[in-house]
Amino acid sequence: MEEKIKKKPYVKKALSNAGTYIFLSVWAIIVLFPFYWMLLTSIKSYSSYNLEYVPKFYATNPTFQNYLDAFTSVNLARYFLNTFVFTVVTTAIMLIITVLSAFAFAWLNFKGKNVTFALFLALMMIPTELVVITNYVTITNWGMRNTYAGLILPSVASVFYIYLLKENFEQVPKEIYKAAKVDGTSDFKFLLKVLIPMCKPTIVTILILKVIECWNSYVWPRLVTDNSEYFLVSNGIQEIRENGFGRENIPAMMAAVVVISVPLIVLFLAFHKKIMEGVSRGGTKG
């Protein structure tokens, strides 16, 4: 049956198949090449890099000196620690706020709930660029520039994630709630013991999206920090570019780029199915 439907001769089919694979491989190379190049450049020594008028596609004398430089001559470890603290604390607070609000919207009845939810949805359309100006002034006036609090506070409430989780909470059958009530379970216990375990996939999705967002955030940290003790990796790399190892020490710069990129790439390779599923379920970037 299948054979009869296929009208094309075998050879033509094989050729078009090969064409497809070549096309897909070209894009894969375009995607991967920058990663290859940063790894390669990061293990070339400073002198050999500068001697190559035509850059070589392999390293003749691979060295790890650049990685030592990245951690000793600029404060990369500090940027790393800051980003780690920022990511963990922001994500944790965001998650608590999101779970509590989603629970209120999905399971509790109180006056003004629907109006409030509609207002929340309206807030989703407001771009950050519009509110960042006042937030900058607020944080400055509160004397929170160059503090973790100043970095974290404005980005812990996200209407989009509340919406996403509320939708998921609502899919849990009402009967379970009733049964729990009959057993005398309190609302809070129901949330902790029943709802959260049942909606774990969505919560993991939200966690992943927020961690990626935090690790890459650049604009807000740049506004509220000018003391490099509080730089995140994005600001750190910009700082390294402008006054780090000296403009020409590209191999050391690439070592820093590799170090900054590795955590998320490792996370991605370990959980690539979950991450891709999560992003396609409700992710937008930026």
Partner: protein, 299 residues
Amino acid sequence: MKKLKLKQLKGWLYLLPALLFLGFFMVYPLADVLVYSAEEGYNFASQSFFGYGLYNFKYVLRDPFFLQALKNTFIIVIITVPISTGLALLISLKLHSIKPLKEAFQTIYFLPYVTNTLAVGLVFMILFKKTAYSDGLINLLIKAFGGSAVDFIDGPYWAKLFVMCFYTIWVVMPFKILILTSALAGVNEDYYKAARIDGTRKFRIFYKITLPMISPMIFYLIITGFIGAFKAYSDEVAIFGTNLNAAGMNTIVGYVYDMLYGNSGGYPSYASAASLILFAIVFTITVINLLISKGNARA
């Protein structure tokens, strides 16, 4: 009665943290940005101003830096949104048609999504930059094909635009490919089987079955693509550095931040006016997009 009141209170109690943070960092700023944009001659140090009016908008619209940023942003939008959406569609269709290695390709294509764009932008800068000791890899390639070397980072405007658009497309492709491949995977196989039994040609199958089935997702990508491209900023910083005005590569969002902070900063009123102009543009384009997509859905 008392129990009912307690129940009312409980809902609000659960919402309290969200209300506090959203109120402080979203609702209040929203009102405040309108006030700022109307305050003429606002001084950040003394927090005083002359009066209310439209002067800030007039100033911004006459500022050559803003006009340059406006032009750059529109060029980014017009070039990157159609190319990235079209290319993502093509790649997703090809991906959908193969079985072996499909997952490997999908995983590779998604990689740029999880990388720090500021960091990877430096790699692009090195690949395209022409320096005293080397022309850079891309220029050597151009020369190998008989062209002459161009400095893509500090050189002519078109060359800088090219790198900027290229990098933007590289950054936004993962999300689009992912969304389109999942949309394609969701199309019921029976439609294709029926069409093949009828002997329908490949292009016709695409045009009559595949495209209508995934068109909502394509429109979603176009709308979010427009919004994202209008807010372009950090990709530009990644390639050209923080002084985008000097490079002539600033964007509207970049202009807002420069007005707020940095060497030319300290003017929240101008920043507010510019950000409201940006919001008006994005809002208009999104409404137009939605109207077109609705019209298409009806047709």
